[in-house]
Symmetry: C2
Subunit: 302 residues, 2 copies
């Protein structure tokens, strides 16, 4: 059986030193020396059969996804990821060791791209399905601090960093955390609130609305629809727009800015305007006519 | 089905404010404001059928164990735990919600005892067994900084904070992290190296020896044997001493100090001396006669 210590050795051997990491894997704890006075922390667990089909995706893609979804949570605050801790429950069998190595490679593919050392972990095997948990630590954006879900104000304009919908066809396995986009936006302008799309555009915007105590109206014609949403709609009976609003795991960022910053966002080319923050309610405007929108999707089919 | 947001709400509602926590659960990340310039981080995953039998232990004990084993890793560095992030994969069924609540209660039983707010998490359900992952952050001991595995020196005396062996009978489900003992020891005297017993006394001391590049001789007569090791030995064919040396999950601390500190440890009453650090090799001395000891247990039955 592939032992825990083999994987720890593997991590240590290939471990890249970051100036913020005082001690990497191999002791009881890792030690991080943050440059700033606050630490961001987020954790996400992925399970075989729920978040991925192992036989279809392969362990390397699973590793990439597990790391990326956590880094995306740091992006959603305009933060900078600094370190990761990883835990895995590997299915016991002939492939256990090979799977561990591929998982680690996948995690490292993404971690290294974003300068995130893996500073600790816990490797296990069992007779169940593959489970992988990643915790990512980060530092707040030096310009603006953490951008919360709760900062949206009435009159804010709502933006999204890219086209949505249909990620299930492929993209959900290879999410690209929008760290650079968020950092660049925070450098250029004042962000009021932000979130990454994991549950779906309408559901995640709904989280901003709930936390901020406001409402929103989305402009149906403005919502960028991913080609995958169009493809997917051909077999589902839902429209591409329904997929763009309801599908999860796009990992684009939704954010709101005061009207004074709208030109700045347009000039950045980093996001498109999709709606406006209002006092209460959640609506989709189609040719100017408002229909109620439920945070988790549609109130009725179009 | 019990939704993720219900549990997050549960955590937020009962969430106790710590001055170090700027933002608790409910946003993309939690925000921690460490008082010191370094952050300790550790993570551990527990799986049904490997780390606990759910039907025997019940979810509350599982929650306690998951939190305690991580806090124990902070104790093993003489650190102070400051925050925890928890992820769970719950078996789908009628009991899912009740299980989530009991798990959270168990985690909180221990977290509150040690002043550790749960600042974030990820709640999932699936058709597999219960998996729970906890990440604990901490700060280094203000007197001595983190106590590593790698600091043991030839001539150091080896101590353990309590009797070992037989934890499988019951104690492994209710480990008591030795935070107070470690902090008190670090306040009184100079610790060279430390680890908590998760794999077993000989295996974990073996980690210290490997990381420090030294050897050790243990005094068989001095090793404190837990009554559970005696009870267990009656059915296993192993001796109580073999159980004390080989069994895991005692969560006592093993540490080494320079000879000048031996009296200080004795006066503290917090640990008993069990051996000495030597240049190389790993031995058990029985009535003065040394026999080789394998880090994972015994070279041969006694």
């Amino acid at each position: 059986m592939f032992g825990e210590f083999d994987l720890i050795r593997g991590i240590r051997k290939e471990y890249r030193v970051s100036p913020q990491v005082r001690l990497g894997p191999g002791d009881d704890c890792a030690i991080l020396a943050p440059r700033l006075s606050a630490t961001l922390a987020t954790t996400d667990m992925l399970m075989e059969g729920v978040d991925f089909i192992l036989a279809e995706a392969g362990p390397r893609a699973v590793g990439r996804k597990a790391m990326a979804v956590n880094i995306s949570d740091i992006a959603a605050m305009a933060g900078i990821p600094t370190a990761a801790l990883v835990s895995v429950a590997l299915p016991q069998g002939k492939e256990t060791k090979a799977m561990a190595i591929e998982l680690l490679r996948g995690m490292r593919d993404v971690a290294e791209e974003f300068g995130v050392p893996i500073i600790g972990g816990d490797t296990n095997s069992w007779n169940g399905g593959l489970v992988i948990n990643v915790t990512v630590l980060g530092e707040p954006n030096p310009h603006c601090g953490p951008v919360l879900r709760s900062g949206a104000k009435v009159g804010d304009r709502i933006f999204v960093t890219g086209p949505c919908g249909g990620s299930i066809l492929d993209r959900h396995l290879n999410p690209r955390p929008r760290i650079r986009e968020a950092v660049e936006l925070a450098r250029r302008l004042r962000l009021h609130s932000m979130i990454d799309i994991s549950d779906g555009l309408s559901a995640d915007l709904g989280h901003i609305l709930e936390e901020s105590g406001v409402g929103a109206v989305l402009n149906a014609e403005a919502i960028p629809i991913h080609p995958d949403a169009v493809r997917l709609s051909q077999g589902t009976g839902s429209t591409p727009l329904e997929h763009a609003l309801g599908d999860g795991e796009d990992f684009e960022l939704i954010f709101t800015v005061p009207t004074a910053e709208v030109d700045g966002v347009r000039e950045s080319g980093l996001a498109v305007e999709i709606g406006e923050v209002i006092e209460k309610g959640f609506f989709l405007a189609r040719k100017g006519i408002r229909e109620p929108l439920l945070p988790k999707g549609w109130s009725h089919p179009l």
